[in-house]
Symmetry: none
Subunit: 248 residues, 2 copies
Amino acid sequence: MSLVETDDVESSESVSLHQRILSDIREKILSGGWAPGHRIPFEHELTAHYNCSRMTVNKALSQLAKAGLIERRRRSGSFVRQPQSQAAVLELHDIRIEVEALGLPYRYERLKRLKRRSSAEDRSLLGLSAPGPALALESLHFAGERPFALEQRLINLSAVAEAGEEEFLDIAPGPWLIGRVPWSEAEHRIRAMAADENIADALDIEAGAPCLVVERRTWSAEHPVTHVRFIYPAESHTLVARFTPSQG
Amino acid sequence: MSLVETDDVESSESVSLHQRILSDIREKILSGGWAPGHRIPFEHELTAHYNCSRMTVNKALSQLAKAGLIERRRRSGSFVRQPQSQAAVLELHDIRIEVEALGLPYRYERLKRLKRRSSAEDRSLLGLSAPGPALALESLHFAGERPFALEQRLINLSAVAEAGEEEFLDIAPGPWLIGRVPWSEAEHRIRAMAADENIADALDIEAGAPCLVVERRTWSAEHPVTHVRFIYPAESHTLVARFTPSQG
DNA sequence: ATAGCGATTATGTATATACATATTGAAACG
DNA sequence: CGTTTCAATATGTATATACATAATCGCTAT
């Protein structure tokens, strides 16, 4: 059971000792044999168990630490960490570019524009605590003749006053905001949803048809800037994110 | 410009040499100074440049290779692999963690397991050109009594032979693969879909109900490792990605 | 009791060395 | 001319050793 109880370590054929130590410990952790918080054997114990040098053990443990599986504390030992979520890089999409990449003509159409004092729902979406002026926009993005995405957007006019003077008839709010307001933080929510009647009508699909919904909230230096909801008919859109792992 | 032209390496204060070599080379690559395909100085050259032992250089280069930034070839040297286009950081949640975060008991159940020679569709999903052994898995993740997600997975056994010996009855393929196969690149496709009969049956929802589909392809050092498709009932799942812009 | 201090201990980083392994390039050979 | 063989070379892995650093334990003095 325990790695340090027995001494009968048979020599493995082709894999390196380093790899063997790694996978042994990983196995123990991932199988649940060593729960989060468990102290794994000290380097000198593993050294004795595997009959190898401390450097070899150290390298394996350092790698596990870098991978986030364990946490190492001087004088205390190494401990199994709570499982961590991995980070990956998501490509931010510009609808115009996406449509044109499909070889289709892009067209933008503003449906509604309403300046108002933020409602409770507006504040919830924007992440605001106090009421203030807001701009609500609804627009359609077309690929050729067909609606490609419905955009429902709120802009916090306290943060971006000049947006209140813009009609957004010829330019979509996304490109308008980009560059004008440097974002410091953003949050995406991605989900599937059945189209209600309004959405179905705007997108020219049937009510109840599946849609992909991408919501984004953006902050600039702690101030909420905008909340936007893109609604895509399921068949028109796939979000693609290609990435490489983050490194320590 | 070149790391090996000058010898004037000033002593750094607090960071370790290991870290300095790492960030120096990363800098060169990410800034574009060293384009993809460029041969990085040999270990013995870096050893001379940094006035340190080969082990230190080797550790840094091994780490860069594991991170996928460079590729190492015996007798030939180390080469820059791919440029990175970063946009935003997406947190990839482990389904178990997500379910438990909801305060619900998590349960995993393997439905099907089939070892086979990869079909044309398999190869297309995995991104393989030549046929080879593959493992097809279908599993259900439960939150309490209700199905939370359906997982359809393909594993390229040419890349991860040991997976062929695993039954995956007690451990889900995701956790099993994590750490065992360090991924160097991945691709997500996220879309909405109406549940067909099989899916509706497995997830205990109505046919035609909207689902969120997350597909992920993973590579390890250019080799396709796995393709997985998670299908979530729309009401059970929202993908959340929170991030700050990359510093360039 | 307790606050401070030093010894102990586990990890962090680096060294020099050794041999294995894969691959390249050139020499030797049929 | 093509093929085989072999030495050179860069990386891969492991060793023993050394000292630094941080945290804990236990002792001591107040």
